[in-house]
């Protein structure tokens, strides 16, 4: 697995698409930092990039890369190597490269601007954590799609649909449910529903630090204890753990049985 990881990693690190991904982040972050200046405001703007752009780019880049190496993997598998190691190696190299370019692209401008000495250091740390976890989750989803759908266009469409569903449609249905069932206590539903979607989960992790004042305006003990104490953080970690496992487990499951 180390060899696979090593080759996949170097291959991806040198990929122009991946470099472009890093450069996009670097430019956007630097521009926003330069234009706005105030760390909290910048972090709020970057939050949209992390929450929506990272999943989108991870899915697209992952799917493109996946279809590119599918035939090569089939060839590798004709050798006496463990399937598990091959697929795990490619998953890890994809997600690690995405994370590295994300960290370089977003971290360096912030560090140069001196975020660590500001009051927004903890919000920045959570922004990085959310970005890293989303890279892992969505590269897993990308590879799962690649080996679930043999047709490239179908796979890409599916990837985009998953992104659209998690980023927008899920929230639309959530809002419709809230309006439809407004007469009922919805606190627990709201929190559980948010945990079932990795994008919402990350968003909650971040707004708990950026918009606590507004969240605590809601009259309800569950919300108050979720956001007002560290209990919420434990639940978010648990949700993350589940979301880290599900795509990889499905991907490993599909690939272990797949007949190339």
């Amino acid at each position: 697995m180390r060899k696979i990881l090593q080759y996949g990693f170097i291959d991806l690190l040198r990929s122009k698409w991946m470099m472009g991904y890093g450069i996009v982040f670097f430019c956007l972050t630097s521009t926003i930092l330069y234009l706005i200046g105030d760390f909290k405001q910048v972090i709020i703007s970057m939050m949209y990039l992390v929450l929506y752009l990272i999943p989108l780019l991870s899915v697209i880049l992952g799917i493109m890369y996946g279809y590119q190496i599918r035939e090569y993997i089939a060839w590798v598998l004709s050798h006496p190597v463990s399937r598990k190691n091959v697929f795990m190696g490619y998953y890890l190299s994809l997600s690690l490269v995405l994370i590295i370019y994300f960290l370089i692209g977003m971290g360096i401008p912030f560090l140069i601007a001196g975020v660590l000495h500001s009051t927004s250091a903890d919000a920045f740390a959570f922004l990085l954590i959310a970005g890293i976890v989303l890279c892992f989750i969505f590269s897993g989803i990308a590879l799962w799609v690649v080996f679930g759908f043999d047709h490239k266009l179908l796979g890409l469409g599916m990837g985009l649909l998953i992104w659209l569903g998690m980023a927008v449609l899920y929230d639309v249905f959530f809002l419709i449910a809230v309006i439809a069932y407004q007469d009922y206590p919805l606190e627990i539903f709201a929190i559980v529903a948010s945990m079932l979607n990795p994008v919402d989960l990350s968003r909650i992790l971040l707004i708990a630090h950026l918009d606590l004042s507004a969240l605590l305006g809601y009259t309800g003990a569950v919300i108050k204890s979720f956001f007002g104490t560290n209990g919420g953080l434990i639940w978010i970690c648990a949700g993350y753990l589940i979301w880290l496992i599900i795509p990889v487990w499905r991907y490993m499951h599909i690939t272990s049985k797949k007949d190339f």
Partner: protein, 412 residues
């Protein structure tokens, strides 16, 4: 003429010489405060040293100065310490503790009733029910005191400084914490509240009702259960105060109810659930405030009218302004800086060329369906806001800053 001066001088000297000092301590001639109060003549000074345990409060019925020299008065959970029922009384440098609580009487460490010219300076009041309770009194100075209540809920706590039907009160440099309301004023006029710190109180940091012509300047109100409430008053000046971290479903940095003809200037509102809440307010000038990182910067009910909101900085609030009514009655927003403003300035006069609508669609959604606050900063929120800005339907179109600033204002 000279003789008259000389006479006056001598007269003053004789008055001065009449004011004696009575020392009270365990090894002194006078060992109890009762005895000292019996012996005292008007304008005497009583000096206290050591610890005194009280079974009932001492009543002051003549002009006196009571000064502590490391003195502690302990109510043993049974009683308050001083009941002032005389003019010209000074209480200074004492530690008053353990009044215990009472549901029967308004038990206070220091009660002031129908007395004028009272000064209470450098007193530390610890674990008291009421700290200072004054009624129908005038010209009171309360300076550099420290109040730490013992309350844990609204029912077993009382107010730190409670003023009822008073006039011309100066509250300066006090620290009040863990009471029900830190500072409470009702029917108290012509007073000044300056540089106090009121924090961690169960209900309001300051509660202010039917009190006109008052000024509060440079105070800090932090982490109180419900912030500061100013109600049913007019001609109030609020300047350079800090309202911070008042979190909760009904917590406001500043709650204004039926206030008119008042000024709210150069205050700093930070991290409150609602920065300023206005209900039935008229002719307020809200000028030059910094309103930063609040859940809602301002909430205005439809019954507020003729208010001027200008030269303020609205920075990084989750929601800027919210109002559920379509008609925003002549509340004029102009020349404020909004960190969410995305307009441009072609002629370079630092005033944006596109009007700013501070009320967003999503704010309306959250006001109607409050649990949807959990969708804050989602893509859906942005989509809703964009849709509404293209075709405004539900947000009040008159709620608009026609001349938003391009750069934040630097307040000192």
């Amino acid at each position: 003429m000279k003789k008259i001066f000389l006479f006056c001088f001598l007269a003053i000297l004789t008055i001065k010489s009449r004011a004696g000092k009575i020392q009270v301590c365990a090894s002194c001639e006078v060992q109890t405060i009762e005895k000292a109060l019996q012996q005292a003549k008007p304008y005497d000074t009583i000096l206290l040293r050591g610890t005194f345990r009280l079974d009932s409060a001492y009543t002051i019925t003549m002009p006196l100065s009571i000064i502590g020299q490391q003195a502690v008065l302990d109510g043993q959970g049974k009683t308050g310490m001083w009941v002032i029922h005389a003019n010209h009384v000074l209480i200074r440098d004492l530690i008053l503790q353990h009044t215990g609580m009472s549901y029967v009487e308004d038990r206070a460490a220091i009660s002031i009733s129908k007395s004028n010219h009272i000064s209470i300076i450098d007193v530390k009041i610890i674990q008291s029910f009421f700290g200072i309770y004054a009624y129908q009194s005038k010209h009171i100075l309360i300076e550099r005191n420290f109040f730490d209540g013992s309350g844990s809920s609204e029912f077993n706590a009382a107010n730190g400084i409670h003023l009822w039907y008073c006039d011309s009160v100066n509250l300066i440099d006090n620290i009040v914490q863990h009471h029900r309301d830190g500072i409470y004023l009702e029917f108290t006029h012509n007073s000044e509240i300056r540089n106090n710190i009121s924090s961690n109180n169960i209900r309001y940091g300051m509660h202010f009702m039917f009190s006109n012509n008052d000024a509060y300047i440079g105070n800090t109100f932090q982490s109180n259960g419900a912030g500061v409430a100013v109600m049913y008053s007019h001609h109030i000046q609020m300047k350079k105060n800090t309202f911070s971290r008042n979190h909760g479903p009904n917590a406001y940095g500043l709650l204004l109810k039926e206030i008119h003809d008042s000024e709210i200037k150069q205050n700093y509102f930070v991290e409150n659930t609602v920065g300023i809440f206005m209900e039935e307010c008229t002719r307020l000038n809200i000028i030059g405030n910094n309103i930063q990182s609040n859940g809602w910067a301002m909430r205005i009910t439809g019954s507020s009218s003729n208010n001027e909101i200008t030269q303020n900085n609205f920075l990084q609030n989750s929601f800027d302004v919210a109002s559920l009514t379509a008609n925003v009655q002549d509340n004029r927003f102009y020349e404020n800086y909004w960190s969410d403003y995305r307009g441009y300035d072609l002629n370079g006069d630092n005033i944006g060329d596109v009007p700013f609508h501070p009320m967003r669609m999503f704010a309306y959604v959250v006001m109607r369906y409050d649990i949807s606050v959990i969708l804050l900063r989602s893509l859906l929120e942005s989509l809703l806001n964009i849709a509404e800005s293209v075709i405004p339907i539900v947000t009040p179109s008159k709620l608009v800053d026609l001349a938003p600033l391009m750069k934040p204002i630097q307040h000192d």
